[in-house]
Symmetry: C2
Subunit: 174 residues, 2 copies
Protein backbone atom coordinates (compact mmCIF):
# COMPACT_ATOMS: atom_id res chain seq x y z
CA UNK A 1 0.00 0.00 0.00
CA UNK A 2 2.97 2.23 -0.17
CA UNK A 3 3.22 4.53 -3.12
CA UNK A 4 -0.41 5.33 -3.02
CA UNK A 5 -0.05 7.69 -5.90
CA UNK A 6 2.19 6.09 -8.38
CA UNK A 7 1.00 2.61 -8.62
CA UNK A 8 2.07 3.26 -12.17
CA UNK A 9 2.77 6.51 -13.84
CA UNK A 10 0.80 5.50 -16.88
CA UNK A 11 -2.24 4.43 -14.92
CA UNK A 12 -2.04 7.60 -12.95
CA UNK A 13 -1.94 9.72 -16.08
CA UNK A 14 -4.99 7.95 -17.42
CA UNK A 15 -6.85 8.36 -14.22
CA UNK A 16 -6.05 12.05 -14.24
CA UNK A 17 -7.20 12.34 -17.84
CA UNK A 18 -10.46 10.70 -16.84
CA UNK A 19 -10.93 13.03 -13.91
CA UNK A 20 -10.24 15.99 -16.14
CA UNK A 21 -12.84 14.79 -18.59
CA UNK A 22 -15.31 14.52 -15.76
CA UNK A 23 -14.60 17.96 -14.41
CA UNK A 24 -14.12 19.61 -17.76
CA UNK A 25 -17.50 18.45 -18.87
CA UNK A 26 -19.17 19.49 -15.65
CA UNK A 27 -17.72 22.97 -15.60
CA UNK A 28 -18.13 23.80 -19.24
CA UNK A 29 -21.58 22.35 -19.63
CA UNK A 30 -22.83 24.10 -16.52
CA UNK A 31 -21.61 27.49 -17.71
CA UNK A 32 -22.88 27.06 -21.23
CA UNK A 33 -26.23 25.80 -20.04
CA UNK A 34 -26.62 28.77 -17.76
CA UNK A 35 -26.06 31.12 -20.68
CA UNK A 36 -28.41 29.23 -22.93
CA UNK A 37 -31.07 29.02 -20.28
CA UNK A 38 -30.86 32.72 -19.52
CA UNK A 39 -30.85 33.92 -23.12
CA UNK A 40 -33.09 31.45 -24.88
CA UNK A 41 -34.76 29.46 -22.14
CA UNK A 42 -33.41 26.12 -23.28
CA UNK A 43 -31.67 23.46 -21.27
CA UNK A 44 -28.81 21.63 -22.92
CA UNK A 45 -30.83 18.49 -23.70
CA UNK A 46 -33.68 20.59 -25.02
CA UNK A 47 -31.30 22.43 -27.27
CA UNK A 48 -29.76 19.25 -28.51
CA UNK A 49 -33.14 18.02 -29.63
CA UNK A 50 -33.46 21.10 -31.81
CA UNK A 51 -29.95 20.59 -33.17
CA UNK A 52 -30.59 16.99 -34.10
CA UNK A 53 -33.95 17.69 -35.65
CA UNK A 54 -32.61 20.66 -37.58
CA UNK A 55 -29.95 18.42 -39.08
CA UNK A 56 -32.26 15.52 -39.83
CA UNK A 57 -33.50 14.77 -43.34
CA UNK A 58 -36.97 16.26 -43.15
CA UNK A 59 -36.35 17.89 -39.80
CA UNK A 60 -38.02 14.83 -38.35
CA UNK A 61 -36.72 11.91 -36.36
CA UNK A 62 -38.27 8.86 -34.77
CA UNK A 63 -38.43 9.01 -31.00
CA UNK A 64 -36.27 5.95 -30.91
CA UNK A 65 -33.50 7.49 -33.01
CA UNK A 66 -33.67 10.67 -31.03
CA UNK A 67 -33.13 8.63 -27.89
CA UNK A 68 -30.00 6.96 -29.19
CA UNK A 69 -28.58 10.21 -30.54
CA UNK A 70 -29.17 11.97 -27.26
CA UNK A 71 -27.97 9.02 -25.22
CA UNK A 72 -31.15 9.26 -23.23
CA UNK A 73 -33.63 6.63 -22.18
CA UNK A 74 -36.77 6.18 -24.26
CA UNK A 75 -38.96 7.52 -21.50
CA UNK A 76 -36.60 10.42 -21.07
CA UNK A 77 -37.12 11.40 -24.68
CA UNK A 78 -40.87 11.02 -24.34
CA UNK A 79 -40.91 13.56 -21.57
CA UNK A 80 -38.35 15.84 -23.16
CA UNK A 81 -40.42 16.00 -26.33
CA UNK A 82 -43.54 16.50 -24.22
CA UNK A 83 -42.08 19.68 -22.84
CA UNK A 84 -40.89 20.96 -26.19
CA UNK A 85 -44.24 20.19 -27.77
CA UNK A 86 -46.06 22.07 -25.04
CA UNK A 87 -43.91 25.05 -25.95
CA UNK A 88 -44.66 24.66 -29.62
CA UNK A 89 -41.08 23.99 -30.70
CA UNK A 90 -41.70 20.42 -31.79
CA UNK A 91 -44.67 18.42 -33.07
CA UNK A 92 -45.44 14.73 -32.90
CA UNK A 93 -46.56 13.01 -36.08
CA UNK A 94 -47.63 9.45 -36.56
CA UNK A 95 -45.78 7.56 -39.22
CA UNK A 96 -47.95 6.40 -42.09
CA UNK A 97 -45.90 3.32 -42.87
CA UNK A 98 -45.43 1.93 -39.38
CA UNK A 99 -48.03 3.01 -36.94
CA UNK A 100 -45.94 2.04 -33.97
CA UNK A 101 -43.58 4.86 -34.85
CA UNK A 102 -43.91 8.41 -33.65
CA UNK A 103 -41.94 11.13 -35.39
CA UNK A 104 -40.81 14.28 -33.67
CA UNK A 105 -40.69 17.19 -36.10
CA UNK A 106 -39.27 20.67 -35.74
CA UNK A 107 -41.86 23.44 -36.07
CA UNK A 108 -41.14 26.79 -37.68
CA UNK A 109 -41.15 28.23 -34.22
CA UNK A 110 -38.66 25.56 -33.19
CA UNK A 111 -36.43 26.36 -36.13
CA UNK A 112 -36.53 30.03 -35.27
CA UNK A 113 -35.57 29.28 -31.71
CA UNK A 114 -32.73 27.11 -32.93
CA UNK A 115 -31.46 29.91 -35.14
CA UNK A 116 -31.73 32.32 -32.27
CA UNK A 117 -29.78 29.97 -30.04
CA UNK A 118 -26.97 29.46 -32.47
CA UNK A 119 -24.99 32.66 -31.94
CA UNK A 120 -25.59 32.52 -28.22
CA UNK A 121 -24.21 29.02 -28.07
CA UNK A 122 -21.28 29.89 -30.30
CA UNK A 123 -20.35 32.76 -28.04
CA UNK A 124 -20.68 30.64 -24.93
CA UNK A 125 -18.57 27.85 -26.40
CA UNK A 126 -15.95 30.39 -27.28
CA UNK A 127 -15.98 32.01 -23.87
CA UNK A 128 -15.99 28.98 -21.64
CA UNK A 129 -14.26 26.44 -23.81
CA UNK A 130 -12.52 27.22 -27.08
CA UNK A 131 -11.04 30.52 -26.00
CA UNK A 132 -8.69 28.69 -23.71
CA UNK A 133 -7.32 26.44 -26.41
CA UNK A 134 -5.09 26.92 -29.42
CA UNK A 135 -6.45 25.66 -32.71
CA UNK A 136 -4.24 22.61 -32.68
CA UNK A 137 -5.42 21.77 -29.19
CA UNK A 138 -9.02 21.95 -30.28
CA UNK A 139 -8.20 19.52 -33.06
CA UNK A 140 -6.37 17.16 -30.75
CA UNK A 141 -9.15 17.20 -28.22
CA UNK A 142 -11.73 16.54 -30.86
CA UNK A 143 -9.73 13.75 -32.43
CA UNK A 144 -9.10 12.03 -29.13
CA UNK A 145 -12.73 12.20 -28.06
CA UNK A 146 -13.83 10.95 -31.42
CA UNK A 147 -11.55 7.95 -31.09
CA UNK A 148 -13.00 7.18 -27.70
CA UNK A 149 -16.52 7.41 -29.08
CA UNK A 150 -15.68 5.18 -32.01
CA UNK A 151 -14.08 2.68 -29.70
CA UNK A 152 -17.30 2.53 -27.75
CA UNK A 153 -19.41 2.15 -30.84
CA UNK A 154 -21.09 5.46 -30.24
CA UNK A 155 -19.79 7.61 -33.02
CA UNK A 156 -22.58 9.31 -34.92
CA UNK A 157 -21.47 11.40 -37.85
CA UNK A 158 -22.79 14.89 -37.56
CA UNK A 159 -23.09 16.02 -41.09
CA UNK A 160 -23.33 19.56 -42.12
CA UNK A 161 -23.47 19.31 -45.84
CA UNK A 162 -27.00 20.06 -46.92
CA UNK A 163 -26.99 17.04 -49.12
CA UNK A 164 -30.39 16.22 -47.93
CA UNK A 165 -32.32 19.41 -48.00
CA UNK A 166 -34.44 17.75 -50.58
CA UNK A 167 -37.97 18.75 -51.01
CA UNK A 168 -38.36 20.02 -47.57
CA UNK A 169 -40.02 22.95 -49.07
CA UNK A 170 -40.40 25.28 -46.24
CA UNK A 171 -37.87 27.91 -46.93
CA UNK A 172 -37.20 29.88 -43.89
CA UNK A 173 -33.91 31.37 -44.52
CA UNK A 174 -30.92 31.55 -42.41
Amino acid sequence: MEGRCDGGAVDEARFQAWLNLLQGYSVVSARIETELEASIGLSLPEHEVLVRLAQAPERKLRMFDLASLLLLSKSGVTRLVDRLERRGLVVRQMSAEDRRVVLAGLTDEGLKTFERARPVLAAAIEQYFAQHLADHEVSELRAALRKVLEGNGEWHELRCSPAYEQATASSPAS
Copy 2:
Protein backbone atom coordinates in the same frame (compact mmCIF):
# COMPACT_ATOMS: atom_id res chain seq x y z
CA MET B 1 -28.26 30.99 -47.12
CA GLU B 2 -25.84 28.65 -48.70
CA GLY B 3 -23.11 27.31 -46.50
CA ARG B 4 -25.17 26.94 -43.41
CA CYS B 5 -22.46 24.83 -41.96
CA ASP B 6 -19.30 26.67 -42.57
CA GLY B 7 -20.10 30.04 -41.27
CA GLY B 8 -16.48 29.55 -40.42
CA ALA B 9 -14.46 26.40 -40.50
CA VAL B 10 -12.91 27.33 -37.21
CA ASP B 11 -16.21 27.89 -35.46
CA GLU B 12 -17.47 24.65 -36.83
CA ALA B 13 -14.44 22.77 -35.54
CA ARG B 14 -14.98 24.24 -32.11
CA PHE B 15 -18.60 23.36 -32.08
CA GLN B 16 -17.74 19.81 -33.06
CA ALA B 17 -15.14 19.65 -30.32
CA TRP B 18 -17.77 20.78 -27.85
CA LEU B 19 -20.26 18.19 -29.08
CA ASN B 20 -17.60 15.53 -28.80
CA LEU B 21 -16.89 16.55 -25.24
CA LEU B 22 -20.58 16.31 -24.48
CA GLN B 23 -20.99 12.90 -26.02
CA GLY B 24 -17.63 11.58 -24.93
CA TYR B 25 -18.40 12.35 -21.35
CA SER B 26 -21.89 10.88 -21.56
CA VAL B 27 -20.81 7.62 -23.12
CA VAL B 28 -17.72 7.02 -21.04
CA SER B 29 -19.22 8.03 -17.74
CA ALA B 30 -22.30 5.91 -18.32
CA ARG B 31 -20.25 2.80 -19.06
CA ILE B 32 -17.86 3.33 -16.19
CA GLU B 33 -20.65 4.07 -13.78
CA THR B 34 -22.46 0.90 -14.77
CA GLU B 35 -19.35 -1.14 -14.00
CA LEU B 36 -18.76 0.59 -10.72
CA GLU B 37 -22.37 0.29 -9.69
CA ALA B 38 -22.47 -3.40 -10.51
CA SER B 39 -19.18 -4.33 -8.85
CA ILE B 40 -19.05 -2.04 -5.85
CA GLY B 41 -22.48 -0.50 -5.60
CA LEU B 42 -21.26 3.06 -5.96
CA SER B 43 -22.48 5.76 -8.28
CA LEU B 44 -19.91 8.06 -9.81
CA PRO B 45 -20.58 10.98 -7.45
CA GLU B 46 -20.57 8.65 -4.47
CA HIS B 47 -17.24 7.28 -5.57
CA GLU B 48 -15.81 10.71 -6.07
CA VAL B 49 -16.62 11.57 -2.49
CA LEU B 50 -14.50 8.65 -1.36
CA VAL B 51 -11.69 9.70 -3.71
CA ARG B 52 -11.65 13.26 -2.43
CA LEU B 53 -11.82 12.24 1.19
CA ALA B 54 -9.12 9.61 0.75
CA GLN B 55 -6.82 12.27 -0.64
CA ALA B 56 -7.65 14.90 1.93
CA PRO B 57 -5.29 15.73 4.80
CA GLU B 58 -6.94 13.79 7.59
CA ARG B 59 -9.35 12.04 5.31
CA LYS B 60 -11.78 14.75 6.24
CA LEU B 61 -13.26 17.67 4.38
CA ARG B 62 -15.77 20.36 5.15
CA MET B 63 -19.09 19.92 3.44
CA PHE B 64 -18.50 23.22 1.74
CA ASP B 65 -15.17 22.19 0.25
CA LEU B 66 -16.58 18.88 -0.81
CA ALA B 67 -19.30 20.74 -2.65
CA SER B 68 -16.89 22.88 -4.61
CA LEU B 69 -14.63 19.96 -5.42
CA LEU B 70 -17.53 17.89 -6.66
CA LEU B 71 -19.08 20.84 -8.47
CA LEU B 72 -22.30 20.05 -6.71
CA SER B 73 -24.70 22.29 -4.86
CA LYS B 74 -24.48 22.45 -1.10
CA SER B 75 -27.76 20.67 -0.70
CA GLY B 76 -26.63 18.07 -3.18
CA VAL B 77 -23.65 17.29 -1.00
CA THR B 78 -25.80 17.17 2.10
CA ARG B 79 -27.92 14.43 0.60
CA LEU B 80 -25.02 12.62 -1.01
CA VAL B 81 -23.24 12.43 2.33
CA ASP B 82 -26.52 11.39 3.95
CA ARG B 83 -26.62 8.32 1.76
CA LEU B 84 -22.97 7.46 2.30
CA GLU B 85 -23.31 7.94 6.03
CA ARG B 86 -26.31 5.64 6.14
CA ARG B 87 -24.13 3.01 4.51
CA GLY B 88 -21.33 3.55 7.00
CA LEU B 89 -18.76 4.75 4.48
CA VAL B 90 -18.57 8.28 5.80
CA VAL B 91 -19.15 9.99 9.15
CA ARG B 92 -20.11 13.51 10.00
CA GLN B 93 -18.10 15.31 12.65
CA MET B 94 -18.62 18.74 14.10
CA SER B 95 -15.65 21.02 13.92
CA ALA B 96 -14.35 22.08 17.29
CA GLU B 97 -13.09 25.46 16.15
CA ASP B 98 -16.03 26.61 14.16
CA ARG B 99 -19.29 25.03 15.10
CA ARG B 100 -20.98 26.04 11.89
CA VAL B 101 -18.73 23.63 10.07
CA VAL B 102 -19.49 19.98 9.51
CA LEU B 103 -16.69 17.69 8.45
CA ALA B 104 -17.25 14.59 6.40
CA GLY B 105 -14.73 11.91 7.27
CA LEU B 106 -13.93 8.62 5.61
CA THR B 107 -14.54 5.60 7.83
CA ASP B 108 -12.39 2.47 7.75
CA GLU B 109 -15.21 0.80 5.94
CA GLY B 110 -15.23 3.67 3.47
CA LEU B 111 -11.51 3.37 2.93
CA LYS B 112 -11.85 -0.33 2.33
CA THR B 113 -14.58 0.28 -0.20
CA PHE B 114 -12.42 2.87 -1.89
CA GLU B 115 -9.55 0.40 -2.13
CA ARG B 116 -11.88 -2.22 -3.49
CA ALA B 117 -13.16 0.21 -6.09
CA ARG B 118 -9.77 1.24 -7.32
CA PRO B 119 -8.87 -1.72 -9.53
CA VAL B 120 -12.42 -1.91 -10.82
CA LEU B 121 -12.32 1.71 -11.81
CA ALA B 122 -8.87 1.39 -13.34
CA ALA B 123 -10.03 -1.50 -15.48
CA ALA B 124 -13.15 0.34 -16.56
CA ILE B 125 -11.21 3.48 -17.44
CA GLU B 126 -8.86 1.36 -19.48
CA GLN B 127 -11.63 -0.49 -21.25
CA TYR B 128 -13.96 2.37 -22.09
CA PHE B 129 -11.56 5.23 -22.33
CA ALA B 130 -7.79 4.94 -22.30
CA GLN B 131 -7.61 1.77 -24.37
CA HIS B 132 -8.68 3.75 -27.41
CA LEU B 133 -5.96 6.34 -27.06
CA ALA B 134 -2.21 6.38 -27.53
CA ASP B 135 -0.18 7.69 -24.63
CA HIS B 136 0.46 10.98 -26.33
CA GLU B 137 -3.24 11.41 -26.97
CA VAL B 138 -3.99 10.86 -23.32
CA SER B 139 -1.50 13.57 -22.48
CA GLU B 140 -2.92 15.96 -25.03
CA LEU B 141 -6.45 15.38 -23.87
CA ARG B 142 -5.49 15.89 -20.29
CA ALA B 143 -3.53 19.05 -21.04
CA ALA B 144 -6.30 20.56 -23.09
CA LEU B 145 -8.95 19.85 -20.50
CA ARG B 146 -6.73 21.22 -17.81
CA LYS B 147 -6.30 24.45 -19.73
CA VAL B 148 -10.04 24.75 -20.07
CA LEU B 149 -10.51 24.19 -16.36
CA GLU B 150 -7.85 26.73 -15.50
CA GLY B 151 -9.41 29.22 -17.85
CA ASN B 152 -12.67 28.83 -15.99
CA GLY B 153 -11.04 29.18 -12.63
CA GLU B 154 -11.95 25.66 -11.71
CA TRP B 155 -8.66 23.91 -11.61
CA HIS B 156 -8.13 22.05 -8.38
CA GLU B 157 -4.80 20.37 -8.07
CA LEU B 158 -5.25 16.76 -7.23
CA ARG B 159 -2.26 16.12 -5.15
CA CYS B 160 -1.15 12.84 -3.88
CA SER B 161 1.49 13.87 -1.46
CA PRO B 162 0.17 15.11 1.85
CA ALA B 163 2.37 18.15 1.68
CA TYR B 164 -0.01 20.75 2.82
CA GLU B 165 -0.84 20.09 6.36
CA GLN B 166 -0.04 23.63 7.31
CA ALA B 167 -1.91 24.92 10.19
CA THR B 168 -5.03 24.90 8.21
CA ALA B 169 -6.46 27.45 9.87
CA SER B 170 -7.50 29.40 12.45
CA SER B 171 -7.20 32.23 10.11
CA PRO B 172 -9.58 35.03 10.67
CA ALA B 173 -13.01 34.00 9.81
CA SER B 174 -13.98 37.54 9.28
